[in-house]
């Protein structure tokens, strides 16, 4: 459409930008439409809508049977956890040194790769924010939407980073927020990336967040193979890089990593248990 465009009342700049957009859009690899995957995904969405409805029905039922609901006591527990988690000193709140959790590690082309998450506590004032801002800069981290230290006040920052071989770690998924978003059920947020920005690294990773209750994340690759990440604690020689882990300082979701077998690329990821 844009290629056939004529100047329908556009200014010169607008039509120049239209041409540039058309050119840039040509840079995408179109590939084959994954019809079957989309239809499978659509069917899962349909059944998920039912699952949500069913869960809602349970809550309503519990609400009408007040004694049963009170017995569970979960809302109170959640509240206590939040109240307890506010130590006073900035050091104890991880304002200047984040809590770091390694999600996965492995070897690719003879060099070690790793993926970690670091969570920085919220600075409470300008001086805490300034020190945190400087410390992040020292580590080569750029917080989201924070151009000046004051933008960090009252906000938690988190960064998923990747590293391969000798190069500096790079942030690949990050945010700076007042409250961490809660994940529930089959919620999943992920990115597909490589081990490194070095074009020599074609190895693919999927990094993301799921609900604390998720027991299995299945990543589908374009060649039909799959990788499965399951909850893991600690590191073991048998680790294959696929794992779901709790992250220090991140109480509202777990994180996962899937590693693609060589020679293929990301297609989809979802919570399967």
């Amino acid at each position: 459409m844009s290629g056939n465009r004529e100047n329908h009342g556009m200014t010169q700049t607008e039509s120049d930008i239209a041409l540039l957009l058309a050119d840039a859009a040509d840079g995408v690899e179109i590939g084959i439409a994954p019809v079957q995957a989309v239809m499978r995904g659509g069917r899962r969405r349909r059944s998920r809508r039912w699952a949500v409805t069913a869960a809602t029905a349970v809550v309503v039922l519990g609400g009408s049977a007040g004694a049963t609901l009170a017995f569970a006591g979960l809302p109170g527990e959640h509240h206590r956890t939040q109240v307890a988690a506010h130590p006073a000193s900035p050091e104890a709140r991880h304002v200047y040194e984040p809590q770091r959790t390694e999600l996965a590690r492995g070897t690719y082309q003879g060099k070690e790769w790793s993926v970690s998450v670091q969570v920085w506590g919220a600075p409470r004032n300008e001086s805490e924010a300034a020190r945190q801002f400087d410390r992040m800069a020292e580590l080569g981290l750029k917080p989201a939407d924070a151009r000046k230290p004051a933008d960090l006040i009252g906000k938690i920052s988190f960064f998923a980073t990747r590293g391969w071989g000798e190069e500096h770690v790079q942030q690949v998924m990050f945010n700076t927020v007042r409250t961490l978003e809660s994940y529930a059920g089959t919620d999943l947020e992920s990115i597909a990336t490589r081990f490194s920005s070095d074009p020599a690294s074609s190895g693919r990773l999927v990094i993301g967040m799921v609900a604390k209750t998720a027991q299995e994340v299945t990543c589908d690759w374009k060649d039909g193979r799959t990788s499965v990440a399951r909850p893991a604690v600690g590191v073991s020689a048998h680790d294959d890089g696929n794992a779901i882990r709790a992250v220090g300082g991140f109480p509202t979701a777990n994180w996962f990593v899937c590693v693609a077998p060589q020679g293929t690329a990301y297609q989809s990821a979802e919570v399967t248990k």
Binding site: M1, S2, R5, M10, T13, E14, D16, I17, A18, L19, L20, L21, A22, D23, A24, A25, D26, G27, V28, E29, I30, G31, A33, P34, V35, A37, V38, M39, G41, G42, R45, R46, R49, A144, D145, Q170, Q171, V172, M173, F174, N175, V177, E181, E189, I191, A192, T193, R194, S197, P199, A265, Y266, S268
Partner: protein
């Protein structure tokens, strides 16, 4: 019911195959990244498939698809999960090894424009892409974005002004892009 459903599935398949290239291009401009674009189109079409019974018989299924895609894009930004929009890393631009000076320049231009687009706030980016790549009228763009025509106008104007102001892009604009 089985036969009717099969027919609907076939209809959806041919709709999807026909629209896939264009949706991928639009998503690429919105996200600036190959895999994010695939993700966006795939999740858009999953939602379209769920509603296909209704959408397929509508006069203009494209309008629905656009609306779903823009909503999904806006939602991802509302969740404010950031990722690097790094064409040099993951978009595939680097994998296309240019063999002539012109192709190198073209890849640079694309990369510069994608970076410039990525720097626009999401609503401005959406307005620019819908108006100047999708070639929609202001009314159609407003429907897709779920806002007023005035909002589309101001977002598109601000977006264009910012794109013009980006060093390097201004030069490309004055050259009228590369053939």
């Amino acid at each position: 019911m089985g036969e009717r459903e099969d027919a609907r599935n076939e209809e959806f398949q041919s709709f999807m195959i026909g629209r896939w290239p264009r949706l991928m291009r639009t998503a690429f401009l919105l996200t600036g990244e190959q895999h994010a674009a695939e993700d966006l189109v795939q999740s858009t079409l999953e939602q379209v498939f769920v509603a296909w019974r209704r959408v397929g018989s509508a006069d203009e299924p494209e309008a629905y698809v656009r609306r779903v895609m823009i909503n999904a894009h806006a939602r991802r930004h509302r969740r404010k999960l950031k990722e690097f929009l790094a064409p040099k890393d993951d978009s595939g631009l680097v994998r296309e090894v240019p063999d002539t000076g012109d192709r190198i320049a073209q890849a640079d231009d694309r990369s510069a424009l994608l970076k410039a687009l990525a720097q626009l706030p999401p609503r401005q980016r959406e307005a620019v892409v819908l108006r100047y790549w999708e070639d929609l009228t202001e009314t159609q763009a407003a429907e897709a974005m779920g806002c007023s025509v005035g909002t589309v106008k101001s977002n598109a104007a601000k977006g264009i002004a910012k794109l013009r102001a980006i060093p390097g892009l201004a030069e490309m604009v004055t050259q009228g892009g590369r053939g």
